[in-house]
């Protein structure tokens, strides 16, 4: 076990150095990324809260096609695996109110092929009017091949659902959770659900062989027009993303820079952002640094809630 942790630390440092070089060369000096932390609850007030977040971040969706991507994985009434349907509905209504031409909800679960049935069990049908008409099962969508430019993983190309490829804005709505393979699953890891099961299977195991962290970084690079609102009202700690325990935090975290959003979530969860390998690959330590992130709303220290970590991940504790 110790051997595995040392190896992961080594890889994280190596990847970080490489990513730093890459980002520095490509982007030069980065401006500060704005990330909001707001207190929220699964009540009617969430609709106003989400609307304010969209205004605050000047998300211009007038006349655009928006795809809202929750984290819908599995249903277990004893825990909180999925993005709460009220947040998904609030985002849908918020983007409509902001003038979006079309707003779809889309997801492609990694283990189960009965997506609509999962959605029904998770309360999506009950909470979101006309859900079935608004929802696209990304696992069963028509696909197109995309060549990966300068990929982090071993893959040169991937197939993606046309619904996701055609979006002017892809909105990641993940659950704030720990994850047994990558440490934490947040807005960037949520992009795994864009990979079509009809092509790669259930699970999307090709990505595991190509490197989970590397594939997350590739997905992030492939879908650059994005926004994130993380459901941290009740997250999941321990053996996530499915078998962990509910962890109430009472916040939503939002922003246009998904790496900065995820780094902020990590700090709230009391996890070192630099220990999350896909974040280092995608952004590098400077972009993840607190000095690079303009925090809006609640102070991290006021909402910080240490998430329980599996033994294998104890070294990522902030």
């Amino acid at each position: 076990m110790h051997h595995g942790i040392r190896r992961r630390d080594f890889l994280a440092v190596s990847a970080g150095s490489f990513a730093l070089t890459r980002c520095s060369l490509m982007r030069g000096r980065e401006p500060q990324s704005r990330v909001s932390i707001v207190r929220a609850a699964y009540t009617q007030s969430i609709y106003d809260t989400v609307r304010r977040l969209l205004v605050e971040h000047r998300v211009d969706v007038r006349g655009k096609r928006v795809v809202v991507k929750p984290n819908l994985v599995e249903f277990d009434p004893s825990t909180v695996i999925n993005t709460h349907p009220m947040l998904v509905h609030a985002a849908l209504e918020g983007f409509r109110a902001m003038g979006a031409a079309d707003v779809r909800i889309a997801e492609g679960p990694g283990h189960r092929r009965v997506t609509m049935d999962l959605a029904e069990a998770a309360g999506y049908f009950e909470t979101i009017p006309h859900f079935e008409d608004l929802f696209v099962d990304l696992n069963l969508d028509d696909v197109s091949q995309v060549l990966l430019r300068d990929p982090f993983s071993r893959l040169n190309s991937m197939y993606f659902p046309n619904t996701a490829l055609g979006a002017d804005l892809l909105v990641s709505l993940p659950k704030m959770k720990t994850h047994h393979w990558v440490g934490a699953t947040l807005s960037m890891k949520n992009f795994f659900g864009l990979v079509p099961g009809s092509v790669y299977g259930w699970p999307k195991n090709v990505l595991h062989w190509a490197g989970i962290d590397e594939c997350i970084a590739d997905l992030y690079a492939t879908f650059p027009r994005h926004f994130a609102i993380v459901d941290g009202i009740v997250g999941m700690e321990g053996n996530g993303p499915i078998q962990g325990k509910p962890k109430p935090v009472g916040v939503l975290v939002a922003g246009k820079d998904l790496a900065a959003v995820d780094a902020t979530c990590c700090r709230i969860m009391k996890i070192k952002p630099a220990a999350i390998r896909y974040l280092m690959l995608s952004a590098g330590p400077r972009q993840l640094g607190e000095s690079n992130i303009l925090q809006i709303g609640e102070n991290i220290a006021h909402v910080q809630t240490p998430f329980g970590l599996m033994e294998e991940w104890r070294d990522i504790r902030l």
Partner: protein, 285 residues
């Protein structure tokens, strides 16, 4: 939905989409054809569907999930479930050859050697060969179960050598992957030392592929499947359970609530499951 509604969703190119308005895909096309073949389908519709499959078969003998994908995958096993005469004997034989050439990556010598060197050998991973969804990835329950069923049909035609051995090893693969609760999930019974729960759809598929197998583990699986059927929330899941349990002579009792069919594949499976409950299980014919 019934057979007529499935026929109405057929695309102009002869294939079927997963959902109305989508492009033709191999999986719903095969399932729609199987459903039509059992329930007085439209002969013209069936022939157009078969023609689409003949055209989309790839040079290597396999099928891609959609024509725009340039890789044969597990859906080849589904296509090989169709009657040999309907598909064409040589096309069917090439599909079986493709299937016989596929194994999970974890069964490779290199991977086993790596595991031994890292001290991670000795578990069920790589012990028996199954089939992957996508070439080069690990083997999982669904593609393994469907491949076993396809090879069982092929065995009757005395095709490629080694078929019986692959079937038996594939069945052992399924037995390796049984969950603590008695059923099957996607193929991982334990993740980092924690038992994982089984799913209705994969439990039904595994039971179908294990028809004729007996033993205490199977008895536990059959009990788990019957319990799953009663609390099942998915029409697709219930159909697979009904098919799997019927293969062992058991009629599954579903929940009181009527479960909606949502697309071509689950509607077709519903028809196939109904037929199985009436004594005709097309997956085993």
């Amino acid at each position: 939905m019934d057979v007529a509604s499935i026929t109405s969703l057929q695309n102009r190119d002869g294939g079927w989409p997963y959902r109305k308005g989508g492009g033709s895909s191999t999986e719903p096309t095969v399932l729609a054809l199987l459903a039509q073949s059992i329930d007085q389908g439209d002969p013209q519709s069936i022939e157009r569907g078969l023609a689409w499959l003949r055209v989309t078969q790839r040079q290597d003998g396999g099928w891609a999930p959609q024509p725009q994908v340039s890789q044969s995958t597990w859906v080849t096993a589904l296509a090989a479930l169709l009657p040999r005469d309907a598909l064409g004997a040589s096309r069917h034989a090439r599909a079986i050859d493709w299937l016989m050439g596929q194994t999970g990556r974890e069964a490779s010598l290199v991977y086993k050697l790596r595991n031994e060197l890292l001290g991670e050998g000795g578990g069920v991973i790589g012990k028996h060969e199954g089939w992957p969804f996508f070439p080069g990835a690990a083997a999982w329950v669904t593609p393994s179960a469907i491949s076993i069923l396809a090879l069982e049909k092929a065995r009757r035609y005395k095709m490629a050598g080694g078929i019986q051995e692959r079937i038996e090893i594939g069945q052992q693969f399924l037995m390796d992957r049984i969950c603590q609760d008695g059923g099957w999930n996607y193929g991982r019974a334990n993740v980092l030392g924690v038992d994982a729960d089984s799913y209705p759809e994969t439990t039904g598929q595994a039971l179908l592929a294990l028809h004729g197998v007996r033993g205490a583990k199977l008895e536990k699986a059959l009990a788990a499947a019957q319990a799953q059927a009663q609390r099942c929330r998915s029409a697709e899941g219930l159909s697979w359970l009904q098919l799997g349990l019927q293969a062992h002579g058991i009629t599954a009792v579903g929940p009181a609530k009527v479960l909606p069919n949502r697309h071509v594949a689950d509607t077709s499976l519903g028809i196939l499951a109904r037929a199985a409950l009436s004594g005709r299980n097309l997956f085993l014919e």
